[in-house]
Symmetry: C2
Subunit: 305 residues, 2 copies
């Protein structure tokens, strides 16, 4: 059991987050995050409750969120924690719609794609924590929204609950290009990419002039032993004058208050729906993580302690 | 011989331009320019002299530039012509440093790459009409400038005459990645790409966080019978948060006066050098065009009538 020093708080985990970007941390290669090596604690967003406080502003029983990762208890510096008000929203939302995935959707879509009313927006990984929010934000902004996901139940949810104009199951679709042409008769203006690979290859040739592409994830590539080759995409960027930008949500950290305020308002107004896929038990964390990478989840995948 | 109608001018060509983008026009596929079909006049920038005028503002003997393409005489609408002052600059510069290639370099580099002093800029196709200007603009803006071209004579010219900090001949270099690492010890902040293919594949992994890439051309790909596969580059865009944008210079047409004024000033101040590779004789136009695509030219390739 860790012990809190001065300025620290002993927290007991309530929810652990499992997110696609964690896959990059355990490759042993430095990407944008420091690698997590064998024997280290897996890092990631966490929600928990204060057990003991040696920091002003925190008392036992407070709910907090931080980055203490996959452990049951942690002694965390108070400066790394944010207090949560369980009356305002369920505390688990701090790992989803009002947390990192929510900010990823909000800033990564609006700031990079700059969608305009009437434009067509395609979202890959559209039933995940981020993609499901991007599609709804696109609808709020007046766009035609087309989602791609890997299960009929996800497609139903996106179309019936989240308001996507169209969606298709890539696992039961053989020709993505033909399907996208059918669902996007006016071409594609914005693409929010969580997956990369063959789905993205099919999107690029259908982009309209001055299209914008936000590269949020490339989950189809994360588990490859060797990089796979693909079609060269730069010629499409040239001919259609596309703007393509990769981003890591932390670059928007200064503006999270703006994003959280807006997302919370849309939630209250019923314009934004979210769903959590909760796996119970710390011992199932790795299974939840692998399942999330394989697309088992609809909405945000969480582990409840 | 064409005849000028009211509002038209009969022009006699003096210089024809041969440019890489023309390759796309004769594929039979619509890219961003209308295709030129067999039997059509090849389109392109031209400089010539008025022989007969049926339009106000033009008199025989005036030098003009327009887009009447590969023909010796043309009846051109006066509204499509711009008068040139041969006292201010040689009229051929209207096809190079003070014309489309100059505007491509000026806006395509400054607007898309937004270079900052001290940054490292890599230019491919760096001895061509556009690349040779981009490298010099990068130097004017205080950047470390590294060029890639396909002949030792071009490398010498770039380093000794144009002020590039470093350059290498890709035809005599086996490992582009190692060479780029050596010449760019602080990584690459901006990349101005004229060529695509294996050179560009070597640049992407060396880009710094928040790097900017301007896709101006993909000349290595234009003559392929079938698209060639390549490494997937989107993961680099994600991890390094790169912004990659393709452009066609015509989008900046409203701002050409700004670009021409600045380029002309740099020319007068001796900050910008340019070179023309002049092929004599209309009958050699196709040879000049093919030669330019193969890299025969240093600087701007022109045909003098």
């Amino acid at each position: 059991m860790p012990a809190a020093r001065d300025g620290q708080v002993l927290v007991k985990s309530a929810y652990l987050s499992v997110d696609p970007y964690m896959r990059g941390r355990i490759t042993g290669i430095r990407t944008y995050a420091e690698p997590v090596n064998i024997g280290d604690v897996m890092q990631g967003g966490t929600v928990g409750q204060v057990v003991e406080s040696k920091a002003s502003g925190f008392v036992p029983g407070d709910f907090v969120t931080g980055m203490w990762g996959w452990q049951e208890f942690a002694a965390a510096d108070a400066t790394t924690l944010r207090k949560l008000d369980a009356k305002l929203a369920p505390v688990s939302t701090a790992l989803g719609v009002l947390g990192m995935p929510g900010m990823t959707a909000y800033f990564g879509f609006l700031d990079i794609c700059k969608p305009k009313p009437g434009e067509t927006v395609v979202v890959s990984g559209a039933a995940g924590a981020v993609g499901s929010l991007v599609g709804q934000i696109a609808k709020i902004k007046g766009c035609r929204t087309v989602g791609i996901a890997g299960a009929d139940s996800k497609i139903d949810w996106m179309k019936k609950e989240l308001g996507f104009d169209a969606a298709f199951n890539y696992k039961s679709t053989s020709d993505y290009s033909t399907k996208l042409k059918e669902l996007c008769p006016n071409g594609i203006d914005c693409y929010f990419d969580n997956v990369g690979g063959a789905i993205t290859d099919a999107v690029f040739p259908l982009m309209n002039v001055y299209g914008r592409i936000s590269i949020c994830g490339q989950i189809s590539q994360y588990n490859l032993e060797k990089p796979e080759p693909g079609p060269r995409l730069l010629s499409f960027m040239l001919v259609k004058q596309l703007k393509v930008e990769g981003f890591i949500v932390f670059r928007f950290a200064d503006r999270y208050p703006e994003g959280i305020t807006q997302m919370a308002q849309w939630l209250r107004e019923g314009k934004l729906k979210h769903r959590e896929e909760v796996v119970e038990g710390f011992q199932n964390t790795v299974k939840a993580f692998i399942g999330m990478l394989q697309g088992d989840n609809t909405g945000k995948m969480l582990v409840k302690m």
